[in-house]
Symmetry: C2
Subunit: 187 residues, 2 copies
């Protein structure tokens, strides 16, 4: 169709960047899966289905449904024998991450995961700054237990979290941070 | 409304039994969760949403969607620090469980889980016999790797699997089997 390589690169970058953090994590998880590094998936969006039609014997079509509030986080799986569980969020703020972005039962869920020996965390992208941080669940819970703030400042992420550097493959290499914290790796 | 206790018991039994194995596992998982024993959930059904309407500013309504083939198993979570992953199926057959009930990518998924150090298994209910079995992923993979049968016989479940006895609470106590196999518990 007469596209130059640069055109294709730009289009590809746009279509991938378009979906933001969620897409970046999904392609990172695919990379981990294909390379047999980890098995981590995003859970499907929870939906209440109220009407289904059957246009043919082999086809079911949802005619009415509603989004449900999720009771858990979006992502879970296994890495080096450990249970992995996290939520990923973007904010356009340049200074802090509003805690209203996370449901209280997602916090409760992460607490339980940590208590039962899993690795729970947040991935937060400050999209205006194009900076993505890993914040371990232990630090998050300590924050929530020791103050009543409605948001977590960027400086807290810088101090207690880890910047996940942009890479080509995998795009959001959060397992590298986990290697460092939980498996004695080097950043 | 004039119901006797026995009426209510029967109605309650019926409404719960109605949904079969899936419901029994869900209430068992709730029991595990409430009693802080394990954190295990059924994943939402994967759906492709093609049309959404917004009847009001705060309401989103799905107007068209389709069921997707799941790429993983239905249930996962954490128990005693271990990653848990399984699929649950019912069959009306009295003699064998047809392997066509499980998607090939669900088998692939369970293989990966086991390779990465997780506990993967099947729960199969022979509903006509009212017998529910735990079949560990290791046994399942050995079966699939050593023959070309299209189904797993009930006798194989009896020999290599574990009968999960009906209980009041939790109804399908599959973690008891896991205790025995993986944590040196007594059946």
């Amino acid at each position: 169709m007469g596209y130059t390589l640069n055109d294709l690169k730009r289009i590809n970058t746009h279509s991938n960047r378009g979906m933001g953090l969620e897409n970046d994590i999904n392609v990172s998880n695919q990379f981990y899966l294909i390379n047999d590094i980890a098995v981590i998936y995003k859970k499907p969006t929870p939906i209440t289905i109220s009407k289904v039609a059957y246009p043919s014997r082999y086809e079911a079509k949802i005619k009415e449904g509603y989004f449900k509030t999720p009771s858990t986080t979006d992502y879970n799986g296994i890495y080096k024998g450990k249970y992995i569980d996290f939520e990923a969020k973007e904010t356009t703020s340049k200074t802090s991450f509003p805690l209203s972005n996370i449901h209280s039962h997602q916090i409760t869920h992460l607490r339980k995961i940590i208590k039962h020996g899993g690795i729970g965390f947040l991935i937060v992208r400050f999209s205006t700054l194009n900076e993505t941080y890993y914040l371990d669940g232990q630090e998050l819970m300590h924050f929530l237990d020791t103050n009543n703030k409605k948001s977590i400042s960027l400086s807290f992420f810088k101090e207690k979290g880890y910047l996940i550097k942009d890479k080509i493959q995998p795009r959001v290499d959060y397992l590298k941070i986990i290697d460092n914290i939980y498996f004695g790796g080097n950043l």
